[in-house]
Subunit: 379 residues, 2 copies
C-alpha cells in the first residue's frame, strides 16, 4: 500500500472491557494504516468487507478510499450526508445492498464516517442475518470521542431521535486524527460539544484542561490526548453498564448529559437545523441551568460551561425561539422517560453528574423558555 | 374476567434454559386465562402493553381481544395477513405506532398471532428503544411448535426471507390449544410440517407416533402432548446454541431441516404462493432425497416422510415447476451459505439430522429439478 508508506503511525490503544465482546480502540495519526492492514487480512481470509460511508466522506477521504478499494472491499455510499440518512428507508436500502452484495454471516460491515454513518450501518450490522461483525472508522471528532465507542446503534423515527436501534459492539475502532484535517470547522466544533460534555460529567481535570486550552484544532498537540481521555471515560462507563440498565445513580445514562434537551431541540427544530453537537451544546447550557434551579450547583458553573463552549465556537442558545410545549412533549416521548416521570442528567459539580427525576413542569418550562437567551441574560 | 370463568386451565409449563433470559412456555387449553392474568398484573404495575396482531386473528379470536382490551392494552393490527406483513415498511409503521402510543422502556410488546406477527413484532420489540420486553401468544400450530419459541425474529427482504432480524427471547410464551379451533385447515396442516420436521430431526419416537396417528386436528387428544414434545426439543436445542453459532455438527442450525429448500421455494415462487409450512413440507421431501443421493439413508425414509406429510394434507411436490437456476441462486443467497459453500441439514436416520457441505451443483440441480414430481415418480 504505497500511499501510506512512510506515514508515521503513532498508535495508542485503549481496550473496552466487555468480556467476550471486548475490543480495541486505536487512536492516533496514521492508524488508517493499521486499519487497512486489518481489512487486507480479512479479505485474505475470504471474508466479505462491506464499507458504508456518505457522499461528503468519500470526497474528503479520497486516498483512504483508494486503499479500501485496493483491498477489494465493496463501498456503499448512503444517499445523503447528515441526519437525513438515519432513516428506515435508508436502513432498508442498506440491508438490500448487503444481500445483493452476497455478504454472508462471515462478512464485516465497516462504517467510515461520522455518527450518522456509524449509527445507521451499525444498526444494519446488528440486524443483517441477525448480526454480523462491525468495524468503526470515525472521520469526525464527535464520532471519535463518542458515537463510535460503546455499541449504541440506531435510526431516527418521525416521533424522535434514535428510537429504533440495537446494542452492537464493534470488533474494533480505528480513530485516525489525521482524517480530521478535512473536517469542516463547524463539524469539528460540534464534536467539541461531546468532549466538553465528557469532562463535565466525569473528569474535572479534563474540563479544566479544555478551559485552559482555547479552541482546539485537528492539529493541536493536545487533541490526541483529549480524544484518548474521552474514549477512556466512555469505555469505563460502557464497560460497567453496557445496556444502560443501571438504576438510580445513572451508569451509562450519565453520558446523556445535555442530550434530553438536545434531542428535543433537534426534533422540534427539524433534524439538520442544528448539528447534533450544536444541539448538545445548547443542551449542556440548559442542563447546567436546570442544575442551578435545583440548587445543585452555583451560577458560576453555567458561566464556565458557556465559556468553554463559546471558545470552541459552539452556540450557547437557540438561534430562534422554539415552542416550549413542543419541546416538553418531545422530551416526554424521548426514550429516557420512564412511566411518565422525566429523568434528567444533572450536575453535582464540574466533573460530577447524577440522575434526577423532575416532575415540576413549570420549572422545566422556565428553563426551556430561556433556551434562546444566552446565559449572560439569564444568569 | 367473566368470559374465562369456569374455563378449565390445563397448563403444563416448559422452561427454556437461557440463564438470565430463561422463560416459561405455558401449553394447554385455557392458558389464555393465565395470559390475561399476567397482562392485568403488568397494567396494574403501570406498564404499557402493546399488542400486535393481524386482521384474520382479530376476527377469529374476538373473545380473547375483548379480554385484552378490558385490561387496557393498545391493539395494533398489521396491514395484512400473511408474509406480506413481514416487510420493512410494516416494521417502520410498528416502530412509529409504539412511539405514538408512548410505549417507554418499561413497555411490553405482545404478539398475538402466527409466525408472521411473532417475527415482525418480536423484531420491533428487539429494536424499539434498543429492546423492550416481548410476550408471544401463538394462535397457529406452526407458531406454537416453532416460531414462538427460541427468540428468532425478523423480516423478509426483496433478496430473501428473514434476512434482517434479531435474537430476542420472549419473557413468556402462552400456547393455548383452544385458540386452534378457528384455524383454517390449510394453516393447521402447515404447522404439522414443522411438527413432522421436529420428529425427523430429533425424535424417532415422536415421528413414529405421527406416522401412527393419522391426521391430527386441533381437538385430537394427542395434540397437546405433541406440541409439548416439539417445544421441549426446540427448548433443548436453543438452550445449547441460542445464536446458531455451533459449528460442524449443527446445533440450532439442525432446526433448519428442509428450510434451505423451503426458503428458496417461497422466494422463487413469490411469498404467499406457498404457506411457509407447505414450502417446508416440499423441502423435507427434498432434504430426504438429498440424503438418499448422498448415500446417508435409504429410499424408504423418503417414503416415510412422504407418507406422514400426505396424511396431514401437506404437499409433497411443487404445484408447478420452478426454474432450477433461480432456486439454486436463492439458496446461495440464503443466510445459511458460508463463504460460498452450501451447507445443508441432512438425515442420517429418522430422528437424527446432521450438517453436510454440498458443492456438487449437478446433484443439487437434479434434486431441485424433481421438486415438482411426487416422490413416487422419483424413487
Amino acid at each position: 500500500m504505497a500511499f501510506v508508506r512512510g506515514m508515521t503511525c503513532n498508535n495508542s490503544t485503549i481496550s473496552v472491557s466487555l468480556g467476550a465482546r471486548a475490543y480495541p480502540i486505536h487512536i492516533g495519526a496514521g492508524v488508517r494504516e493499521v486499519f487497512l492492514g486489518a481489512l487486507d487480512r480479512l479479505r485474505g481470509g475470504g471474508r466479505a468487507v462491506f464499507v458504508v460511508t456518505s457522499p461528503a466522506v468519500v470526497r474528503a477521504q479520497a486516498l483512504l478510499f483508494e486503499g479500501i478499494r485496493a483491498v477489494g472491499a465493496v463501498v456503499h455510499v448512503v444517499s445523503c450526508d447528515g441526519e437525513g440518512a438515519k432513516r428506515a428507508v435508508e436502513l432498508e436500502a442498506l440491508w438490500e445492498a448487503l444481500a445483493v452484495g452476497c455478504v454472508d454471516r462471515g462478512g464485516v460491515v465497516v462504517a467510515v464516517g461520522g455518527g450518522v454513518v456509524g449509527d445507521l450501518s451499525g444498526f444494519a450490522a446488528a440486524t443483517y442475518l441477525r448480526g454480523v461483525d462491525f468495524i468503526q472508522v470515525p472521520t469526525t471528532l464527535l464520532a471519535m470521542v463518542d458515537s463510535a465507542v460503546g455499541g449504541k446503534t440506531g435510526i431516527n423515527l418521525g416521533a424522535g431521535k434514535n428510537l429504533a436501534g440495537a446494542f452492537h459492539q464493534p470488533v474494533a475502532v480505528y480513530a485516525d486524527t489525521g482524517l480530521l484535517a478535512t473536517l469542516p470547522p463547524r463539524e469539528f466544533s460540534a464534536g467539541m460539544a461531546e468532549v466538553i460534555k465528557t469532562g463535565l460529567l466525569g473528569d474535572a481535570a479534563l474540563f479544566a484542561r479544555l478551559c485552559g486550552a482555547g479552541p482546539l484544532r485537528w492539529d493541536h498537540p493536545a487533541l490526541e490526548g483529549v480524544i484518548r481521555r474521552c474514549c477512556e471515560i466512555k469505555a469505563v462507563v460502557v464497560g460497567a453498564d453496557e445496556r444502560e440498565t443501571a438504576g438510580g445513580e445513572g451508569g451509562r445514562a450519565l453520558l446523556n448529559l445535555g442530550h434530553t434537551f438536545g434531542h428535543a431541540i433537534e426534533n422540534v427544530a427539524g433534524y439538520g437545523e442544528y448539528l447534533h453537537g450544536e444541539a448538545v451544546a445548547v443542551g449542556l447550557v440548559l442542563a447546567a441551568r436546570l442544575s442551578v434551579e435545583l440548587g445543585l450547583v452555583g451560577r458560576d458553573v453555567v458561566a464556565s460551561v458557556a465559556g468553554v463552549l463559546r471558545a470552541n465556537n459552539l452556540p450557547l442558545a437557540l438561534r430562534r425561539e422554539l415552542p416550549v410545549g413542543a419541546l416538553l412533549e418531545a422530551m416526554r416521548r424521548d426514550k429516557k422517560a420512564r412511566g411518565g416521570a422525566m429523568r434528567f442528567v444533572v450536575l453535582r459539580a464540574v466533573g460530577e453528574a447524577g440522575m434526577c427525576l423532575v416532575d415540576d413542569e413549570v420549572l422545566l418550562a422556565r428553563v426551556l423558555g430561556a433556551a434562546h437567551l444566552e446565559p449572560v441574560f439569564f444568569a
